[in-house]
């Protein structure tokens, strides 16, 4: 049962244009969402997050949008740069997981972003 889904395995974008990475989830109890970026042979690195009480969070070129009614979040990168080429994972936190409110995350499968010069 995949509670967090990234339906696009890959995305190709021209440098300078907008990259939009999408993520859908099924568990309405998720209360916090995160995006991670992963380069080959490295662990994922935290990029940006959003609480379920918000619908937008912006950090420089990165903006995350949350649509709770649609159970959908997206990551916008503007303008895209070749160095943004990586695998992007969305993740969600369920406060009820294990009966305690800790940071156990459920990850999507990842989307490979390629930004062409």
């Amino acid at each position: 049962d995949q509670q967090v889904k990234q339906n696009s395995p890959s995305l190709s974008v021209q440098e300078g244009r907008i990259s939009i990475l999408n993520c859908d989830y099924t568990n309405s109890m998720f209360d916090y969402f995160l995006w991670y970026k992963k380069y080959p042979a490295e662990g994922p690195t935290f990029l940006i997050s959003i609480s379920s009480i918000k619908d937008k969070n912006e950090d420089g070129r990165f903006t995350v949008f949350l649509n709770k009614s649609a159970k959908h979040l997206s990551l916008h990168i503007v303008p895209s740069q070749p160095g943004d080429s990586a695998v992007y994972f969305c993740a969600a936190k369920d406060p009820l997981t294990g009966g305690t409110s800790y940071g156990k995350l459920t990850f999507g499968q990842g989307t490979i972003l390629t930004v062409h010069p």
Binding site: G43, K93, G98, Y102, F107
Partner: protein, 115 residues
């Protein structure tokens, strides 16, 4: 400062053998997580340690998997009688306090190949 480190970076083992994977979290981080990423899959939660509390083992796929965290710092993930389906990248992450800050810092992972 130093990030999360894991060793070995690569491990090839024969089916049926036991393996130990090591994780050194960021100093001062009280929460430690193990995940694995199989080919084409997302990160799958395995186990979580928080301070001196009992670990959450709900993600361990079978009783062949176990993990310890000694002295609230270094953690070892042990897989007994490895099977080919255990082949994956095993990732360790730590965070300052799981109940307050949710951002986890990941190590580079150990790529395990079971032949």
């Amino acid at each position: 400062g130093a990030g999360v480190s894991q060793s070995p970076s690569n491990k090839v083992t024969e089916k049926g053998k036991d393996v130990e994977l090591r994780c050194d979290p960021i100093s001062g981080h009280t929460a430690l997580y193990w995940y694995r990423q199989s080919l084409g899959q997302g990160l799958e939660f395995l186990i979580y340690f928080q301070g001196n509390s009992a670990p959450d083992k709900s993600g361990l796929p079978s009783d062949r998997f176990s993990a310890e965290r000694t002295g609230g710092s270094v953690s070892t993930l042990t897989i007994q009688r490895t099977q080919q389906e255990d082949s994956a990248v095993y990732l360790c992450a730590s965070s300052v306090s799981a109940s307050v800050i949710y951002e986890q810092y990941f190590g580079p992972g150990t790529r395990l190949t079971v032949t």
